[in-house]
Amino acid sequence: MSSQTNNSSHNTKVKTRGEKHYVMIYTRYERFWHWSQALLIFTLFYTGLGLHGTHDLLDFQTAVIIHTYGALALMVLWIFTTFWNFTTGQWRQYLFKEGVLKVIRFYAYGILVGEPHPYKKGLQRKQNALQSMAYMAFMVLIGPALWASGIIYLVYDLWSGHSWSADGLTLIAFIHTAAAFLMGTFVIIHIYMTTTGKTPSHYIKTMVTGYDNIELTEAEIAYIEETHAIAIKDEP
């Protein structure tokens, strides 16, 4: 399967730049995480806006119930995912990578004039430098701001008796609201970015099936052939 010849000019250095293969880059758990998280974030954002008074399409009680259960579910999901990230070592995907400015330049200009994407996806490099940075911010800033303030909000009754509870609630509500706005902004841009692949639906399809065309190093190919640890289908 790995013997197919790729004619692309930049693909000649076989040792460092493998040929393109159709490989499962997002495992079943990753996809489950992504899509259930997406659903929960939409639910929480929608009900949250209702609770905030932005819209009144839901009655307050229903919104509180859905928002609370949604938040609990998301917290469970995040606990599992944190575990998954560390046990699989996938957390390294989110570390800082060089070349952020190149990626920014690409989206600001290159994409318009048909330049190739400056970043090559690989098995250990599933996200480009900008993505990694954005997801890292999501996971260490926006996410924690939301769940930390959310948990404190949720257990208001445990601290409502203190004299500072009114000020405390104001602060918590402020952080939670601000982080929610950031999350909303992130999601809008994130969804748009998924349309910037080869075709507008390419990335979305990848996130559904898990497979994408990526270059593999010889070592990776050898590893896959030896262990069958990663599903690989050549030619979609």
């Binding site: 905030h52 989206y107 994409i111 048909g114 009754d157 409502s160 009114a166 909303g184």
Partner: protein, 586 residues
């Protein structure tokens, strides 16, 4: 004219007694029935006064002082099971009593300590020394926002004193036979009380059509009080049915479940004393010193005998802990009084409550006589006076949404001694205390009464008015504020500058009755919304009501900006890709 049925305490024609000038007229029109007949004839003859019979009943000729019209004189049923004593079998009660005190003496011959106990009660003393504010309170001295003061007007007002004959300062508070046992313990429904003095000459006809009290019968029919016993006074506070409280009126004698889930005559059928538990004739549930937050909740086995709070039966966490909504509601009980959600509106039994009283317009006469207009028809069909010459203008409300605020249980009174600044807005005759961050207050519902009433404009104090009396100085007779205030102050030895004006006042009545069934309790969004019931309470964040001005602007800008940015980017991509493909084609 609505003269059928037993009417308690009416006073007809007193308004014709209008100063000295009116005496003459009164003598001329001495025969009352003929007055009425002649007026009827006159009205029929004058074309502009030809009206429907209903309109007639709303017009002038009604009696003026009929503040308690009790159409339903049967007792409410109190199901305590059979008593261990049948009072009709007691020899001492099987005799012809001539008056109340004779009955009381008979009661006390067995209930030997009851007199001593009862004399400690506020129902007897009309006095209350507030333990924390140190204020001397009680009806005996307080100013109110209705007929302004009982002090000096006891001849009329002390009808609701649980005693016999308090008409002036000579009443003997140490004589046990002066206690009126029957007003609370008569279970026939036929007992009634009359004013202790006749008042103005024009008010001399009362109790028309009312059967004299059968003392032996009522003495032999005593029992624990029913709702109508307490209601005989408490339903009519402020001078009429439902006037003062809004959550206490005659509809509670036989309420249905929707009106009051506890007193529901076909259901739980609570008597007042089911909650207002007693210990030696002292009742729980003071409005002078309110337990606004009962953190003790349920008592140990047996009942708590010291409080009338919801928590004393329902605990501090009465909602179902197995549901999220229940947990959330239990989380509210530290900040929200039960009454706030469970009494969605007051005055919803068909009887209106008064919300506004303007004394300034009192004293108008027609053809030299006082009159009244009844332009408010309440849900039970009765017409309520919107103007009385003796009192001024009134406004009423039904299904009234209460006033809400933080309340720690402390009421602060403006007494006759309190100086105030009349330019600082309405004077709070009984203001409440509390705030969102004192750790003990909860949001309570109040009925707020707005009144415009006389005050001493030099000394900046409230005034006592001499309203009731058979003398020429009584306002209810001469319509002269100047004299009524002067004499009212003089009689009670309060300094008075001699100059009066009118000042706006508020009084606040914590709401606790007319608890609705749980399915009618308020929903979350009644408060958690931009224009909800708590929209006026400031200083704390409430989800659904509050937002952070600039954060919201920034947030919406960020969301909108992101949306706009990606649309723009998509558009540019489209334009450029077209150019490229065109370029490629060339």
């Amino acid at each position: 004219m609505n003269r059928t049925g037993p009417k308690l305490f009416m006073c007809r024609g007193h308004n014709r007694h209008h100063g000295i000038k009116m005496h003459k007229q009164q003598y001329l029109l001495a025969a009352k029935s003929s007055i009425r007949a002649s007026l009827w004839t006159l009205m029929l003859l004058l074309p502009h006064t030809i009206q429907s019979a209903e309109d007639h009943s709303r017009q002038a000729m009604d009696s003026d002082m009929n503040f308690r019209i009790v159409e339903d004189s049967g007792p409410s049923i109190r199901d305590d099971g059979e008593s261990t004593a049948d009072h009709s079998k007691f020899e001492i009660l099987q005799k012809d009593f001539n008056n109340g005190p004779e009955v009381t003496e008979a009661c006390l011959s067995c209930h030997t300590e009851a007199g001593r106990h009862f004399m400690q009660s506020i129902h007897w003393t009309w006095e209350y020394d507030h333990p924390s504010s140190g204020q001397k309170l009680g009806k005996k001295t307080l100013i109110n926002t209705f007929c302004t003061n009982a002090k000096g007007n006891e001849g009329m007002c002390a009808q609701c004193h649980a005693g016999y004959g308090w008409k002036d300062e000579n009443f003997d508070f140490s004589k046990q036979e002066n206690i009126d046992c029957l007003v609370c313990h008569d279970r026939t429904g036929s007992y009634y009380k009359t004013p202790n003095s006749t008042g103005n000459k024009a008010c001399s006809i009362m109790f028309e059509g009312k059967k004299p009290i059968d003392w032996s019968k009522v003495a032999q029919s005593v029992g624990k009080p029913g709702r109508e016993n307490c209601g005989a006074c408490h339903f009519y506070g402020g001078g009429g049915d439902g006037v003062k409280h809004g959550d206490l009126d005659s509809s509670l004698k036989r309420p249905n479940r929707e009106l009051d889930v506890h007193m529901d005559a076909e259901g739980l059928n609570f008597a007042c004393t089911t909650c207002h538990v007693t210990r030696q004739h002292i009742w729980a549930g003071s409005r002078y010193n309110v337990i606004a937050h009962d953190t003790e909740g349920l008592g140990l086995p047996g009942e708590r005998r010291d409080v009338a709070t919801c928590e004393s039966c329902h605990s501090e966490a009465p909602h179902d802990y197995s549901s999220l909504v229940g947990i959330k509601l239990n989380g509210h009980t530290d900040k929200i009084a039960c009454q706030t959600c469970h009494i969605p509106t007051i005055a919803r039994g068909g009887v209106a409550t008064m919300v506004d009283w303007d004394w300034r317009t009192a004293g108008k006469t027609r053809d030299g006589a006082g009159f009244k207009e009844k332009n408010y028809s309440q849900a039970n069909g009765a017409h309520r006076a919107t103007y009385k010459s003796i009192k001024g203008n009134f406004e009423y409300a039904e299904n009234l949404v209460p006033h809400y605020d933080w309340f720690d249980g402390q009421m602060n009174y403006t007494t006759i001694e309190t100086k105030f600044d009349p330019n600082q807005g309405p004077v709070e005759i009984n203001g409440y205390q509390g705030s969102h961050n004192d750790g003990k207050s909860r949001i309570w519902p109040f009925k707020r009464m707005h009144t415009i009433q006389p005050y001493d404009k030099v000394n900046n104090t409230m005034v006592y008015m001499h309203l009731w009396g058979d003398d020429d100085d009584a306002y209810w007779g001469n319509y002269d504020f100047g004299r009524a205030i002067k004499v009212g102050m003089q009689k009670n030895s309060v300094p008075y500058s001699g100059e009066f004006d009118f000042v706006e006042t508020y009084s606040f009545w914590p709401i606790t009755h007319m608890v609705a069934p749980k399915e009618d309790a308020m929903g979350c969004a009644d408060c958690h919304s931009k224009q909800g019931r708590l929209a006026d309470l400031n200083g704390f964040y409430m989800p659904g009501r509050d937002s952070f001005g600039w954060l919201d602007i920034l947030g919406y800008l960020a969301l909108g900006g992101a949306l706009l940015g990606v649309l723009l980017h998509a558009l540019l991509r489209k334009i450029f890709s077209k150019k490229q493909s065109q370029g490629g084609a060339q």
